[in-house]
């Protein structure tokens, strides 16, 4: 006998399609109607059986595995917690709490996908909107450096092609090569690799009414850029979906900054938005949770007893490549399949604990593997869609394994001691003995530090004259 669950959310990509009909028979998912090829494969090939944890490839019971994982993390001087993009916000919150307790570095896969887009947002803001607004209002949709026909197959059908939503919509694709997405676009602009920044700067100039002396920019005649700029200014509601073609190429965050500023300037005459094409199901949620827990979206270090932000310093690739971590806890991601070889090599050398619902390259090399349930299939949790809308995922199968949140909670219980903040300051005289109150002392210390910094630059801090 089979049962069908309607309106199931597919967690396989940042679209989080919430109209899937999942048919369950004999304890397995046998059909996922309305899902794309990626989503259907995700549901149908999911193995919900009760796997046991392993240590060094040998099966052990959960108590032993949790104990060993806790021992590894507790013994590490600088553990790294990485991944988080395919787990629920509830588990992400536990992971951040664990990082705080361990004094660890915590980073999500954002740092190797849309981290530069986040840096751009922090620099110049982001005129955003929801996918519902795109579906119902947008008359100009631009995909820049992305191939949603492969990475987000239902994006077209649900939100961005003319046959859904507005009928008068124009779809433009800007990319360095023809793809499946360029075939369905009304207009394809093929630019030279690495010319995104130059092209976006040109578009900003054209939107501002400036003249361009060059005849060709990025391998495309300027007349075509003029036509696109005119179309962007004339539309009623435009949106650009920014892909990894902007963030993974030279320029990185500067490419996205130019795009965001272009959209911001277009808002002087029309309505224009930018949405990063987030890949993994809840990578956007990782940014949200880390920001509300620590104040920073990724690459956060708790080693000083308080969160420190450092893309390029505390981001996973940098930390691994420089050998600055001595243990790793990988949650719901596969860094060995995606990180540069020098970073991946370091991950192979240090003791690694992995929480994942499926075997991966990283689980094969891990010291401790903790097989967990999958959110949206046999665990309940909250994911954030690529446009920042939180969506509740429900379970369609009974759980046979603990969730990431439950396992992280158990790991937290193994770390009872908090390394605590910085060492206490040296003893000083009390006020009665001629000393100064602590707050005043701190203020003096700050001023002295400023003096020292200013002194090295050939100047000094002065009192205000007014």
């Amino acid at each position: 006998m089979s049962t069908v669950a309607e309106h199931v959310v597919c967690p396989s990509c940042g679209c989080l399609c919430d109209d899937i009909a999942v048919e369950v028979s004999g304890g397995r998912i046998v059909q996922a109607r309305r899902a794309c090829a990626n989503g259907r494969s995700f549901f149908i090939h999911y193995d919900s059986s009760s796997h046991r944890p392993t240590i060094g490839g040998h099966e052990v019971d959960w108590e032993t595995a949790i104990g060993e994982a806790g021992r590894i993390l507790g013994a590490a001087d600088s553990p790294l917690i990485f991944g988080l993009s395919s787990t629920a916000t509830e588990a992400q919150r536990k992971a951040v709490e664990l990082a705080d307790r361990l004094g660890a570095i915590v980073d999500s896969t954002s740092s190797v996908c849309h981290g530069p887009a986040i840096l751009a947002m922090q620099s110049v803001g982001l005129p955003g909107c929801t996918l519902g607004e795109v579906r119902n209002r947008a008359d100009l949709v631009i995909f820049w450096g992305c191939n949603p026909a492969v990475s987000h197959p239902r994006h077209f059908a649900r939100y961005s092609l003319p046959h859904n939503g507005r009928q008068d919509r124009t779809v433009v694709v800007v990319d360095v090569r023809p793809t499946a997405s360029t075939r369905v676009a009304d207009l394809f602009l093929q630019i030279q690799p690495g010319s995104d920044y130059e092209v976006l700067t040109t578009l900003r100039a054209l939107v501002q009414g400036k003249c361009i002396a060059a005849e060709v920019i990025g391998g495309v005649p300027v007349a075509r850029w003029q036509a696109l700029a005119a179309r962007m200014k004339a539309c009623h509601f435009g949106v650009v979906f920014a892909g990894l073609g902007l963030t993974m190429t030279p320029g990185r965050d500067l490419n996205v900054s130019e795009l965001v500023m272009l959209a911001a300037e277009l808002n002087a005459s029309t309505h224009f938005s930018v949405i990063p094409m987030r890949g993994h199901g809840n990578v956007a949620g990782a940014d949200q949770v880390l920001t509300w827990q620590s104040g920073y979206p990724f690459a956060v270090q708790y080693g000083r007893g308080y969160p420190c932000y450092g893309p390029g310093e505390f981001s996973a690739v940098d930390v691994l490549a420089r050998g600055e971590c001595d243990a790793a806890l990988i949650i719901a991601s596969d860094p060995l399949a995606h990180l540069p070889h020098s970073a991946a090599q370091r991950l192979r050398e240090i003791p690694t604990i992995v929480l994942d619902h499926q075997p991966t390259l990283t689980t094969q090399a891990a010291q401790v593997v903790l097989p967990t349930a999958c959110y949206g299939v046999d665990a309940v949790g909250t994911f954030y869609r690529m446009d920042g809308v939180p969506i509740r995922l429900r379970a369609v199968l009974p759980p046979a394994r603990p969730s990431d949140e439950q396992v992280l909670d158990r790991l937290l219980s193994t770390q009872t001691t908090n390394p605590g903040p910085l060492p206490p300051p040296p003893p000083t005289l009390s006020t009665a003995q001629g000393g100064v109150p602590p707050k005043t002392r701190d203020a003096i210390a700050i001023l002295e530090t400023r003096d020292a910094v200013a002194g090295t630059q050939g100047g000094r801090w002065r009192q205000p004259t007014c």
Binding site: R177, T249, R252, G312, D318
Partner: protein, 86 residues
């Protein structure tokens, strides 16, 4: 790889070539694809990871696309630009 480039360089469909960057190298089979001349494409994965360096220029993001690569075909060497996938 661009089909005309393959013909010009004498690379057959399925032939294994060595792709090199300043960070590493990988041996992969070649397929003809709809690509501009001078551009090659590799899907992300363990082979492509051999080619990318870990320098993130202070952003946390290594360059995973837009790398300049050298394709070694027996005794010949030709410079190409690599464009990875997401």
């Amino acid at each position: 790889m661009n089909a005309e480039d393959m013909a010009r360089l004498g690379i057959a469909e399925g032939q294994v070539v060595r792709v090199q960057t300043r960070s590493g190298e990988a041996e992969v089979p070649v397929r003809a694809g709809a690509l501009p001349s001078g551009v090659v494409f590799m899907p992300l994965g363990p082979a492509a990871n051999q080619l990318s360096g870990a320098d993130t220029d202070g952003t946390g993001m290594p360059l995973l696309k837009g790398l300049t690569v050298v394709i070694a075909i027996r005794w010949q060497q030709t410079k190409y630009r690599h464009e990875g996938s997401q």
